[in-house]
Structures are given as structure tokens and as C-alpha cells.
């Protein structure tokens, strides 16, 4: 009996997955094959979308980059003819091509993603779903659960890395009849999509994690704060909650116990700062989403002044696995203080970008070169940027560093929620810092002085440096501003906003100096500091560049070396891209 799965997370859909799905459905129906066709969530290899997995007696065959016109051949040859189309397969028993991508991974959070149909509660149940909550309800006291999670070493995956068991303990101990659980699915880091993939691919695991947390702290109401830009995730959550209510898993007397739990969805308006827990709570309360001072922490006074426990999506998704497999199994993975796995959204100049889940303790080099398949176009690995706009960069020569909360913090970066951008020698570090600071500066809520005014000023300094107008004192000024903003801002946004600048200054100071003193961008990236130049030795006089130049800055006769008039050149780079002989150089 065969089964066909199509990855229809947002990544799959945007690569054209729905058309492939429709084509497959049509083909299978037309040919009356009676084979089960399933939609699943993201399978992780986003760089190979659309992914179609065919399960047969030999096991799994993963087809990559499937388009509707490839469907016919797959159906005819593989499904009917039992001969897998080997040239399109990236992973099966015989094709080991992409094996390291999966083999070095350890899937706990993503255990069901890409495997089950996220819209089916029965499939989730068939994959051990809702066993953990039932076990907890029948066998464990809340204190037992707290002990279990303290023992597991699970730390919050939303960025802060606070031990989850301890957090639950505080919320459990807080006085109050009414308590809340909140799932933070605001995921505001640019380029991050870990939480989205989990919600789209396996919403029930998050709900189950929330149920266990609710039982533990004594909450009977919960919210999922999910950004409105995630319509598919919201749709999947609505379906999942409805299914749970129908089965009596949510509502009154859940699982026939004496506990009640209601889970509501709150759509976030999309401000990055609303991911900060106090701002998020204000937003659920219908107020302006602005952080407030802590203490009191949400565990004491959270939603509507009641004790509230707030965790990230990925944190919750870990929870059922830990209950079923035991805290020891979880703690067996990772380093001394960072246990389990971490999901990363690999992006940037890497061969295989996508969603990966690796055990803690893996080195950055392993992620980049083994899981990620190395740098694109065989360029040089320069650094990774971890933790999005709140994080920082870690240079390639520190690639031995392990994935571990505290080791990463030591470098000036942060683990963050899982954004991991790989950079090569064409990335300008000043420009990178500028990119992130521009983001945070725009997303500042504007409440406190340092963040509102300070980040804006830092951005302007970076702008003038990349424009070739930097002053000798600028690095010092940046550092002074950065340290104070970091130390004295009100919330995590301001406190971490300078990280990209501080780490790039720390590890790539000479690049800043080159911009300022030599008016040169070593990565040949900052337009204002570039000049384009034709190497007469390489130029064949094909005239292509002159045709592409929008301002007619290039002159030269056919079959004779061309020249660029720098007075006229607007540095758009079209000639550089156009030349087939590498004759145009950036200097």
C-alpha cells in the first residue's frame, strides 16, 4: 500500500505546493489508484520545495522541486510502475545525497511535521498524541510535573532560555484563583519561521503542551497569541481546537477529569515588540502593546493582573515528548546546561536553507557544513548571525563553538528563537549591523529614552559610515551609545538592539575602520564606497554592459575594451551582473 504526502506549510505553498497537490489528486483520481494523498506541514528542506514523499514497500522516497508537470511521470513510473524516478529523488534508501541534512538532525519538536496531516486529530493521536496529557492527569501531581521539567533541563525557546520547570513552579506557587497560560506565537524576528512551521505542521503538539502546563500551574484558560500574518497557522489552530473540544479534550472536564481548560486565539497586529511578554499581555487585554516594567513578573501579575505563565511555541511542543520519553532521555541530549534540541531557520549564503532541528551541543561548523551543506557558490564562510535583530554575529574562526545558551551569550550574540543566518565574504558587516538596527529602531515602541532616541542615532551613524562619511570618533561613539542602551533600556528590545553592532565591532572592527578611514567597503557591498571598473585584459568588447547601463556611463567600440565614466555612473551594478567574462570589477 502506498501513501503520498505533499508538504503544504507556508514554504511549500509559496513554492507552488497547492498546484502540485491538485495535479496529484487529479492524476490519482483519473487513474483510479485509490492511493492515500496527504497534506503535511513543512518537512524542513525549504530549499528543495515543493517536496513530495512517496511511501511504498521499500520505505520513503522524497521527491524535491516537484512541479505539476513532473507529477505525471512520478505517478506513471513510480506509483503505477513501481520504479522510483531516481533522478528527482533527494532521499531514499539508495539516494544518500541529502542524508546528512536529516541524519545529523534530531527531531523532537518537529517529530510529526511533514509526517502527519496537521488537520487530522486522529493522525496526531495515532502518533502517540494526547497520551502525555492523559498520563499527567492520571499519574502525576502538578508538583511531580514541575520536578520532571526541572530535571529535564528544558529552557524557554523564545529567546531568554529561562528554565521552564522553574517558571511553572513560580506560576504554580503564585496566589490566585484565576491563572492563565499563554503561548507566544508572535515570532517577529525577520526571517524566522520555526514557530510557524510547528503550528502549521503539528498544532496539536502545542495544544497538548499547553494542556500539561495549564494542569501544572492550575490554569483553566489559555491564549495563543499568533501573528495575523500567519493565516495558515491560525486556520490549523482553529481546526485543532475545535477537534479537541469535540472530543472533550478542551472545555469542561477535559479527558473526563475534574479539570477545565479553554484555549482562545488572539491575533497579533504584527509589531515586533508585542512578542515581549508584558507587551503581549497588554495587547491581549486590548491595550496598546507596549512593554511595562518588571517586576511584577507575569507569574505574579500577568493577564488582567492574574498569575500567568507564558511560553514559546517550541517550548510547548517539547513538552509532550518529555512526558512520554522521560526527562532523562531529554537531558541525555546536549551540554551541561542546555538540554534537548533546538530548531533553527537556516538562511543566508548557505547551500541548504530551511528548518532544522539539531541536538544542543552541535558545533556551528557542523550545522553550517554538514547539515547546511556548506556555503553557496563555494564562497568563504565568514560568520553566522544568531538570534535575529537581538542577537549578534559569531565569526567563522569561532565555528567550533557549541550550540549552548551560555556559550553563545559569551560571544555577545544570543541563542534567540532560532534565526541563523550564514554570511560569506560578500556580506558587509557594517551593512549587516545597519540592517538589523534599522529593524529594531523601527520596531521600538518609543516608550523609553535610550531605545527611542538612542537606536535612531546609532542607525544614523551607521548610515553615514556606509555612505563613506564616517568620522574617526564614530566607533567609540557607537560603543558608548550601545553600552548604555543595552544597560538601561526598559525592555528586552532595547537591551538587545545594540548586539548586532557591538558584535560586529568586536569581531570585525577593521571593516568599520576601512569604511571610515579608507572609505572602502572590504566586502564590496556598500554602493557609495564602490567604483566599477573594466579590466581591459578581460574585456572582449561585447558591448553587453554598455547596453545594460541605464545612464550610458559605459563607452567603447565593438570588440575593443570598454571604459566606465565614474562621473556618470550611479553604481547600480547592472554591468557587473551582465558581463560574462568577469571583466567588470568592484573596487
Amino acid at each position: 500500500m502506498k501513501e503520498v504526502r505533499v508538504g503544504l506549510g507556508t514554504c511549500g505553498i509559496s513554492a507552488g505546493g497547492e498546484a502540485v497537490y491538485r495535479e496529484l489528486k487529479r492524476e490519482l483520481k483519473k487513474k483510479k489508484l485509490g492511493i492515500e494523498l496527504k497534506e503535511t506541514g513543512c518537512m524542513g528542506m525549504c530549499y528543495e520545495e515543493v517536496l513530495v514523499e512517496v511511501l511504498d514497500s521499500e520505505g520513503s522516497h522524497l521527491y524535491a522541486k516537484v512541479t505539476p508537470d513532473r507529477v505525471g511521470k512520478i505517478v506513471d513510473e513510480h506509483i503505477i510502475g513501481n520504479k522510483p524516478v531516481q533522478e528527482w529523488i533527494v532521499r531514499n534508501k539508495t539516494a544518500v545525497d541529502e542524508d546528512v541534512f536529516f541524519d545529523r538532525q534530531k527531531r523532537i519538536v518537529l517529530r510529526n511535521c511533514g509526517i502527519i496531516n496537521p488537520a487530522s486529530i486522529d493522525e496526531y493521536i495515532a502518533h502517540d498524541g494526547y497520551r502525555a496529557i492523559q498520563k499527567v492527569l492520571s499519574d502525576y501531581s502538578p508538583e511531580d510535573v514541575i520536578d520532571m521539567f526541572i530535571k529535564s533541563g528544558l529552557r524557554g525557546r523564545g529567546g531568554g532560555g529561562f528554565p521552564s520547570g522553574l517558571k511553572w513552579k513560580f506560576a504554580r506557587q503564585a496566589k490566585g484563583d484565576k491563572k492563565y497560560i499563554i503561548c507566544n506565537a508572535d515570532e517577529g524576528d525577520p526571517g524566522a519561521f520555526m514557530d510557524r512551521s510547528v503550528l502549521e505542521g503539528d498544532p496539536h503538539s502545542v495544544l497538548e503542551g499547553m494542556m500539561i502546563a495549564a494542569y501544572t500551574i492550575g490554569a483553566d484558560e489559555a491564549y495563543i497569541y499568533v501573528r495575523a500574518e500567519y493565516p495558515l497557522a491560525i486556520k490549523r489552530l482553529i481546526t485543532a481546537i475545535k477537534q479537541c473540544e469535540e472530543k472533550g479534550y478542551l472545555g469542561k472536564n477535559i479527558f473526563a477529569s475534574d479539570k477545565n481548560l479553554k484555549i482562545k486565539i488572539k491575533e497579533g497586529a504584527g509589531a515586533f515588540v508585542c512578542g515581549e511578554e508584558t507587551a503581549l499581555i497588554a495587547s491581549i487585554e486590548g491595550k496598546r502593546g507596549v512593554p511595562r516594567i518588571r517586576p511584577p513578573f507575569p507569574a505574579q501579575k500577568g493577564l488582567w493582573e492574574n498569575p500567568t505563565n507564558i511560553n514559546n511555541v517550541e517550548t510547548f511542543a517539547n513538552v509532550p515528548w518529555i512526558v512520554l520519553n522521560g526527562p532523562e532521555a531529554f537531558a541525555a541530549m546536549g551540554t551541561e546546561k542546555s538540554k534537548g534540541t533546538k530548531v533553527f531557520a537556516l538562511a543566508g549564503k548557505i547551500a541548504r536553507s530551511g528548518l532544522v532541528e539539531v541536538p544542543m551541543g552541535m558545533s556551528i561548523n557542523e550545522i553550517v557544513f554538514q547539515v547546511g551543506g556548506g556555503i553557496k557558490e563555494n564562497r568563504q564562510f565568514k560568520a553566522v548571525q544568531m538570534g535575529g535583530p537581538s542577537g549578534g554575529c559569531i565569526p567563522a574562526d569561532m565555528g567550533q563553538l557549541q550550540i549552548d545558551y551560555d556559550e553563545i551569550t559569551q560571544t555577545g550574540a544570543i541563542m534567540g528563537s532560532g534565526g541563523l543566518i550564514v554570511l560569506d565574504e560578500t556580506t558587509c558587516m557594517v551593512d549587516l549591523a545597519k540592517f538589523f538596527l534599522n529593524f529594531t529602531q523601527n520596531e521600538s515602541c518609543g516608550k523609553c529614552t535610550f531605545c527611542r532616541i538612542g537606536t535612531k542615532r546609532m542607525l544614523e551613524i551607521l548610515e553615514r559610515i556606509t555612505a563613506g562619511e564616517g568620522k574617526e570618533t564614530d566607533i567609540e561613539l557607537l560603543e558608548d551609545l550601545a553600552h548604555k542602551i543595552k544597560n538601561s533600556s526598559l525592555c528586552g528590545l532595547g537591551q538587545t538592539a545594540p548586539n548586532p553592532v557591538l558584535t560586529t565591532i568586536k569581531y570585525f572592527r577593521e571593516e568599520y575602520e576601512a569604511h571610515i578611514k579608507e572609505k572602502r567597503c572590504p566586502a564590496h557591498n556598500c554602493a557609495a564606497l564602490l567604483t566599477y571598473h573594466v579590466d581591459p585584459g578581460k574585456c572582449t568588447g561585447c558591448t553587453l554592459c554598455a547596453k545594460k547601463c541605464p545612464v550610458d556611463a559605459i563607452s567603447g567600440k565593438l570588440k575593443e575594451p570598454h571604459t566606465i565614466n565614474m562621473e556618470v555612473c550611479i553604481k547600480c551594478g547592472h554591468c557587473f551582473d551582465a558581463c560574462r567574462f568577469d571583466a567588470v570589477e568592484k573596487i
Partner: protein, 670 residues
């Protein structure tokens, strides 16, 4: 000493109460921590970061205004690192807008550039209104922040100047949020809010409109809260600088609350009023009337000379002439009709000293008991700020938002804190917006009363049906500022008198509908008025900022009023008019000043006031003794022919220049 509640600040051991912030503990121990956004009485927001301090063991600086004190905490308030951080706060705020008061211009040659810069960016090229009183400027001076390492941020939002009273200069706003707190947390008028985000953030009124189109009620709390020159009163904008001004502490005269105010005086003129932050009952807050309603004092239309009716026409006369005539007429009428035909209708706006003199004159000189008014007394048995702790508040007929806005603010704050609000007779009562329950009459009230319930009723609203309930405390606020003072001076309402029995009436600006039966009418007033046309003598009176005295407010607190400006030309305080009149009648009263009347006569004769001399009243008011023993009239009916003043009409007249606003706010005549 409870060891759990001890911490160290700068090495000094300090005790604290659980829940107190580091700033509160430090302030109590005379350790100064600079603040900008912290607004006393509102929940700290921690926005400005000026108050950072170092706490041992904490990774970074901590905002003292918003961090709770903790056991064994060790705080250092002025380490080099902290000073450095504060300097940066000031530096960032200075470059964030048009802070052109020169504190940041270090190089003289920059001045012209700087001025030009200001002109191009701001459309507001003047020196800041707050120069000299600005908290940011003071901090820049204190921390010697004059560097110009960073460029100034161009101003994004233009000056808003189309409101009749308030100017809003966004180029100077430091977004401390105090105005929003003052409006939302303190006055609970909910007109101001934070708008936009990040570095384009702005303080907005609903939908970013202008003030006149907003829910603003012109309490002016935001202006007082603004630490810089961003919010200001337009009328004193170019007329007065802080060094021109002397401040005089006094008591508001508009309603029975008795708010404490500071008058800002420049050259014999009031230019501004502020609430006194540290004083009960208002803790700094004021209402529209208290803050803006003083223009009438300097109006050119005031009565300045005595007038005597000659040949059916009022014409100017000297005081001597006028008083001699009054004395003669009094003797004549007394001889003919007996002393009880001589009546005096007082205004309970007058000071205790005024009223005491009037009473003394009629009782002792004329042997007449006919001194009266028609105002019910009031009684507030708790501090206003304790209204916030009530479990349930019942408002019966009292339109506090309109008549006693400062009391309304406490009620609204209580609601924010979780109190239930019940409004009886809710039509037209703006507080019903906040009400949980609305009742047509008191009859359904019974089941709503629980422990800690207070009822505040309009002085004219009959609450006798619920009187005597154990768990219900009944309070009311007098319509006029010194009605309770009048009671204590022995002047009580007379409900059963007959207008026709009086042949001589001395009216303190009080209207009488039909005076045909009165042989001789004296009207003392501030402005020309209708009744004066029928008067035989008109006397120009001084108003409350023009002489010294005392009031007794509804919470039975004796408050001082003080002379701040001179009365116009020949206007005289009421107490002095009676002293001189007594002289004309052959009695030489010894007390020649307000203080003497109060200390030699009043507090010696009235046991409730014993010992409360001017010295004791030098700063804050003092509650009178044995309040429970005072009985007062709860309901008063006005006899035929007499009339009680229409306060809203008077207010509208007094605030002539502000009339549009007054009409909008008080729906005059309703």
C-alpha cells in the same frame, strides 16, 4: 526593627514598607534621585530612565522609580557609571527636539548655525516657555551636559496653536508620558494618549486631532505635569518669565472642596494657577474653574467706587458718604420698625473673617438676628484620596464632573481600582459613563450597599430615606467654598422668613426677586448686576485674592487664603466694610486686620477652632475639632422672593473671556 524591611542606600540603612519603590525610600531619607517621567500618584512607567541607580548584584542599572525595595538591597545612587547613564539620557533628550535654550551649545560660534537650524526645523523660533523652570534644562545644568556629539533630530510635528487656552509644542516633547498619566490615571478624563511608535511617537488626542475637537475638559492637569516647555498656557506664553513671578499659596474659591493652589503673580496680576502638589485635598489636581477661572479679577468692568442713588440714578460717591448714608438709614428704619426689620443676606463665598464681621455687626451693633443664607452644609468625613479605597460609591444627584471635578477624579480613580459605581438620577450626569448601576431613585439602592460603601449626594438631593444605615457613609460637598464656614460663624439658613418683614437689606451680591417692600437696599458686589439697579447704595467689594482670610471646606478643613494682588481702586474687603460701618454707628472695633479678627475673636469664641491660629495654618489646612458635634442643615428651602445664586451663570460671567469654552463644558443654564 523588623529585619526583613531594611535596605541600604549609599551606605545608609533605611527601613521600608513592603511595596515601596527604591525612589520612595530614598526620598523619605532625603537622598535625591533625579526623575523626569515619574508622576506622584500615578503608576510609574519607567520610561525616561533618568532615575537609574546601581543595585548590588543586578546586571545593569535599575530604574528607582519603578523597582520595589527589597530586603538587604544595596543601592548606590551616584556612581560614575550611573552619572554617565544619566548624562546620556539628558543628551539624548536634548537632541531629540528643539531644546534651544542654549544648554547644549558649547561653542559660541555655533549659536547662529544653531538658531538657523531651529528656524528651519521648527516653525517655533522663540525661546522656550519653560526656560528656567524646565526640569530637563535643570538636569542638563546639573550634569553639565553640553556636548554636541550627536546631531539634533529634526522636528516632525508642527506646533499646535489653535486651541484657545493650551499650546502644544511637539518639538519640545520628551515623551515622558506624564501628561497622559495626568489625564488618564489622575483626572481620568481619557483625552490624551500615546500615538504612533518608535521615534515617530507622539502624544495624541483621540485619532490625533487637535485639543478643541477632543474629549479634553481643560482641567489643565497635563500642563502642570509637563516637565518641559511642550505644554503651556497660551495667555502667559510671552508675558511672564519665571523670575518675574512671585508665588502665593491660597485656596480655590469656586467650590466646597477647597483645593490648594499657587497663584503666579506678576506685577499685581495673576498670570497662572497651579495646584499644590503636596497638599490635601487635591494633591496638585485642579479643575477648569480653579486653573483658568481668574481672568475676571483683572477685568476692567469691576465695580471700583461706591455708588449712591440720587434722583433715581446711581452715581459715584465716596466711602464716607456711602457709609454715612447707610448708617443713617439703618437708625431710621430700626427706630421705626425694630431691629428685626434689618436683614443681611450673605454670600457663603466670603471668608470666615468677613462673615464673622457681618454677623457681629448685625447681632451686636444692630441687635438683629437676621443674618442668613440658603445653602445646605456639606460633610466629607474622609480624605478625598481615601475615596479610592471605597468598595462601592453611590452618587446621588451630584454632578461631580461638572460641579466638583476634583472630587469626580477621585471617584473615577476608585472605579479604575475596582470600586462599583452607582449613579442615582443618572440623566445628564457625566459620571454615569463610568457607572456599573444606574438607578432612577434611591429606592432600589438597599441591595447594592455593602461594607465600605459611601454615598455622595448633591446638597439639594434628599437622602433621608437611606439615612442611618450602618454600612453606608453619607457625604456631600457644599456648592460654595465657605458654606461650612458660615455655619461655624453662626450664620445658618432661614427657611421660614418673610421677605416683606425686611425694610433694610444688605445683600452680598445675592439676588432678590422683588424688593418693592424694602425701604433701603444695600448691595455689595464685584461686578455691576441687575439687582443693583434697584439698590440705594452699591459697595465695591474686593475678591478673595485681594485680602487675607480663611475658608472651611466640606471636609471641615480650615484653609488659608492670602492676599496676592491689590484690589482695584477703592474696592474693599467685606470685613473692612463692616468695621467701618460699625465705626459710623459709633462702635470702634479693635481688630484692624484679618489675623486679629481670627485670632483675637473667632478662635477664642468658637471651640471647634480653638488654637488653630494663622501660624498653624501657615502651610497646610487643619481639620477642625469635634466635627461630630456640629449639626448642620441637610435640606434647605429658599423662601419666596429670595434666590440662591446660579453658580454656572456666575462662572460663565466671571470667565467672560473663556466663555466659549465655559459654555461647551458646563452647558450653561441647564
Amino acid at each position: 526593627m523588623d529585619k526583613d524591611n531594611v535596605m541600604k542606600i549609599n551606605g545608609k540603612t533605611c527601613e521600608f514598607e513592603p511595596g515601596e519603590t527604591i525612589l520612595q525610600v530614598a526620598t523619605r531619607n532625603n537622598i535625591h534621585i533625579p526623575t523626569l517621567c515619574y508622576l506622584k500618584g500615578a503608576h510609574p512607567t519607567g520610561a525616561c530612565r533618568m532615575c537609574v541607580v546601581e543595585v548590588k548584584g543586578a546586571p545593569g542599572p535599575i530604574a528607582a522609580c519603578s523597582s520595589p525595595a527589597a530586603k538587604n538591597m544595596e543601592v548606590l545612587t551616584d556612581t560614575p557609571r550611573i552619572i554617565d547613564a544619566r548624562k546620556m539620557v539628558v543628551e539624548l533628550l536634548l537632541i531629540s527636539g528643539n531644546h534651544n535654550c542654549a544648554v547644549r551649545g558649547k561653542y559660541p560660534q555655533d549659536w547662529t548655525d544653531f538658531q538657523q537650524e531651529v528656524e528651519t526645523y521648527d516653525r517655533a523660533d522663540d525661546i522656550c516657555v519653560a526656560y528656567g523652570t524646565c526640569k530637563l534644562q535643570a538636569l542638563a545644568y546639573k550634569y553639565m551636559v553640553s556636548e554636541r556629539r550627536l546631531d539634533r533630530i529634526p522636528t516632525r510635528y508642527p506646533l499646535e496653536y489653535d486651541d484657545p487656552l493650551v499650546g502644544r509644542d511637539f518639538s519640545r516633547c520628551i515623551l515622558c508620558g506624564r501628561c497622559v498619566q495626568a489625564c488618564v490615571d489622575v483626572q481620568v478624563n481619557n483625552a490624551l494618549s500615546h500615538g504612533y511608535r518608535g521615534n515617530i511617537a507622539k502624544i495624541v488626542v483621540r485619532g490625533d486631532m487637535t485639543l478643541p475637537d477632543s474629549d479634553c475638559v481643560y482641567c489643565g492637569e497635563c500642563i502642570q505635569a509637563c516637565p518641559v516647555g511642550s505644554l503651556f498656557e497660551k495667555r502667559n506664553r510671552f508675558s511672564s518669565r519665571m523670575w518675574d513671578i512671585t508665588q502665593v499659596r491660597t485656596t480655590c474659591y469656586y467650590c466646597g472642596i477647597g483645593c490648594q493652589i499657587n497663584l503666579f503673580i506678576k506685577e499685581n496680576e495673576i498670570v497662572k494657577v497651579e495646584g499644590v502638589e503636596e497638599a490635601k485635598p487635591n494633591s496638585g489636581r485642579l479643575c477648569f474653574k480653579g486653573r483658568f477661572g481668574f481672568d475676571f479679577i483683572h477685568s476692567g468692568k469691576r465695580l471700583t467706587k461706591p455708588l449712591i442713588k440720587k434722583k433715581g440714578k446711581l452715581s459715584e460717591a465716596s466711602w464716607d458718604e456711602a457709609l454715612t448714608l447707610i448708617a443713617a438709614k439703618i437708625n431710621e428704619i430700626k427706630d421705626k420698625y425694630g431691629p428685626e426689620a434689618l436683614g443681611c443676606m450673605v454670600s457663603t463665598k466670603n471668608t470666615n473673617e468677613d462673615l464673622f464681621q457681618a454677623k457681629k455687626f448685625f447681632n451686636n451693633v444692630l441687635s438683629s438676628e437676621q443674618v442668613f443664607h440658603f445653602e445646605p452644609a456639606g460633610y466629607i468625613g474622609i480624605e478625598y484620596e481615601d475615596i479610592k479605597n471605597a468598595s462601592t460609591i453611590v452618587i446621588a444627584g451630584a454632578d461631580l464632573n461638572r460641579d466638583n471635578p476634583v472630587a469626580a477624579s477621585y471617584v473615577k480613580q476608585a472605579v479604575l481600582k475596582g470600586a462599583r459605581l452607582i449613579v442615582v438620577d443618572p440623566d445628564q450626569n457625566e459620571l454615569s459613563k463610568f457607572a456599573h448601576v444606574r438607578l432612577k431613585s434611591l429606592s432600589g439602592l438597599e441591595k447594592e450597599i455593602r461594607d465600605g460603601t459611601i454615598l455622595i449626594h448633591d446638597p439639594d438631593f434628599d437622602v433621608s430615606s437611606v439615612n442611618g444605615k450602618d454600612n453606608l457613609k453619607i457625604y456631600s460637598i457644599t456648592r460654595e467654598n465657605n458654606t461650612n464656614g458660615a455655619y461655624l460663624m453662626g450664620i445658618t439658613p432661614k427657611s421660614d422668613i418673610d421677605l416683606k418683614a425686611y425694610k433694610f437689606i444688605y445683600s452680598m451680591g445675592q439676588n432678590i426677586k422683588d424688593v418693592k417692600s424694602v425701604d433701603f437696599l444695600v448691595v455689595q458686589d464685584v461686578f455691576p448686576g441687575k439687582l443693583q439697579e434697584k439698590a440705594d447704595v452699591v459697595l465695591p467689594a474686593a475678591v478673595w485674592v485681594e485680602y487675607d482670610g480663611t475658608y472651611i471646606s466640606s471636609d471641615y478643613r480650615v484653609n488659608r487664603v492670602r492676599k496676592a494682588v491689590d484690589p482695584p481702586v477703592e474696592a474693599k474687603p467685606t470685613w473692612l466694610i463692616f468695621k467701618e460701618l460699625a465705626g459710623k454707628m459709633g462702635q470702634d472695633w479693635e481688630s484692624a486686620r484679618e489675623k486679629e479678627i481670627w485670632e483675637q475673636e473667632i478662635i477664642k469664641n468658637i471651640s471647634h477652632l480653638e488654637g488653630i491660629n494663622y501660624n498653624i495654618l501657615a502651610e497646610n489646612g487643619v481639620k477642625i475639632k469635634e466635627i461630630e458635634k456640629i449639626s448642620f442643615e441637610k435640606t434647605v428651602s429658599t423662601p419666596k422672593g429670595f434666590e440662591r445664586p446660579n453658580l454656572h451663570k456666575i462662572l460663565a460671567e466671571q470667565c467672560r473671556d473663556l466663555q466659549d469654552i465655559v459654555q461647551k463644558r458646563f452647558k450653561e443654564g441647564k
